[in-house]
Amino acid sequence: MQRQVALIKQSLFDQGYLDEQFVELEELQDDANPNFVEEVATLYFKDSARLISNIEQALERGSFDFNRLDNYMHQFKGSSTSIGASKVKTECTMFREYCRVGNAEGCLRTFKQLKKEHATLRKKLEQYFQLARQAGPKETARRPK
């Protein structure tokens, strides 16, 4: 089972969903905080859901205040770097770029993509953590190849 967990994690890295930062988080995990990574991920998804809804509302208004959108996205991007959400981060950067040039269409498109990536990552991580918990406490902090 542990091997299964390891494989899942590896695939997340290989597919580019996660990056180095995730590994750093795992290294922070210790006996004092045995579920540190999962806690951080949970916190991230909770907070990012809020940020996403902020952006959504701003976009729905249709007025396209690019400055404000950029600010929101800046926040979101910063948050996404916390767990190493690589694909999400890429979408954030693209969104900000569209904001910079004032491309509303691009923003909308990218945002949709971003939400998709975010949801995918969430599902995958939930699955991963669940398995990891089942597999036992030792399954952690293993650097991907």
Partner: protein, 535 residues
Amino acid sequence: MEKGFSPVGLRVLVVDDDPTWLKILEKMLKKCSYEGSLLLFLCFYTLGVHLLNFLCFCFNPLAVTTCGLAREALRLLRERKDGFDIVISDVNMPDMDGFKLLEHVGLELDLPVIMMSVDGETSRVMKGVQHGACDYLLKPIRMKELKIIWQHVLRKKLQEVRDIEGCCYDVGADWFTQAQFLGGGEDVSFGKKRKDFDFEKKLFQDESDQSSSSKKARVVWSYELHQKFVNAVNQIGCDHKAGPKKILDLMNIPWLTRENVASHLQKYRLYLSRLEKGKEIKCYSGGVKNMDSPPKDAEINSGHQSPGKSSSYAFLKATETDPKQLAPASVSDPTSGVHMPPKAKKTRIGYDPPNSSGVFDSLLPWNDVPDPLESKPPILYENSFLQQQPLPSQSSYVANSAPSLMQEEMKPSYVNEDEFLMPQDKNSTVILQDMDLSAPFSSNATSNTDSIPGSLNWELPEAHHSGSLDTDLDFTWLHGEHFFANSGLQNFQFQDYTSSTSLLSEPPPHLWYGNDRLPDPDEYTLMVDQGLFIS
């Protein structure tokens, strides 16, 4: 450095609106403390026993405090003066701009501040440097970057000791370099120069010199003190002529050293130059409109003084807080600038918004006093003033005169910006806070705009404010944020101020708070800068 060992480790305050990062940083810092201690151990053997106190920090686990709101962080810092050794703050926060926080902390408390952001654009980094950051970290942050933060604290403490003791030591050994070397050779000097000093000499001196404690080295520039400083500067005139020695003489404060003045002067000049730049752009735009809302109390008389007023005026105002009345008594005015007697009532003067150059209007948020301040308190110096919409505060400001005003005035409306908590410190040191800048808005705004473009000269635009205004404004922006945010808090702040030093002879600034008009965070910062100086 303190003699004896400090049992507490390095005390870090982390400020970030992102809860995920707060959690991660807290964990990282805690981990750092254990891993870093061996290195420090090596350091202190090399550097001498006097460093032991400081190094002891490193042996002990880091004491990490996290904070999700900049205002809250400022409040914590002010409440526990000397309670933290270093601040790590995010640049983008909803309630207050990280740079503003940086300036506040740097000017009021003189703590090393490290900025962090996901955005590593050169302009942002430069902004950090300009505002006095010790370092600028990019997110995601690595452990090794956090492991070296103690170097910033050490450097700061050394500077403090030097300032306090007023001597420049030749460097017998660049121990700091050694420390760095031992610490991994990272160059932590982020734009700061390492001063050499004769470490050994200092050691001996430390032993006999009571004042050499690194902990107490920090001189807190309270509002009153700053006012005196500004007055002295204005008196001397052109800032080029204003040398620390002269200023020190004029200030006539026995315990203050030339070095204290010199370092404060440097900061002040930087602050002014920043203001000027900002002013040129923004100033005058806001128009002193803010001031138009007639203060409740009407008396605020227009303290606005002629734009020519020196900045000191602004400061003066702060001291004057005469809660009861906004009466600008203190107005000592802008004309005299220099002499605003501490006693002078700060009365809100100045708030006579329209009077002062239009500039204030915009700046003075307090105009509206009663209404929630949405704009930030008029910061005198900053453009922000101009930008500020007339804050209800103005009226409230006026109201401030009435003792109760302050509090009311402060009303929650101001809070709008709320971000700033009004520091409750009592200490005199709190420069602006006490001052209850609320009122100052008006003054600041106006004066700033005018004078700013002028130059770095000491006069802060605020001169325009009428006595009352200025003071209020001063406070306001200084702490701008602080007091506005809390209507309730405001009262305290003033209190402290008054109680703290003699400079404030008068009524507690609380009145000023009423006006809390918090300036826009961005603008505010600028103003605050000034405010800091002002107060």
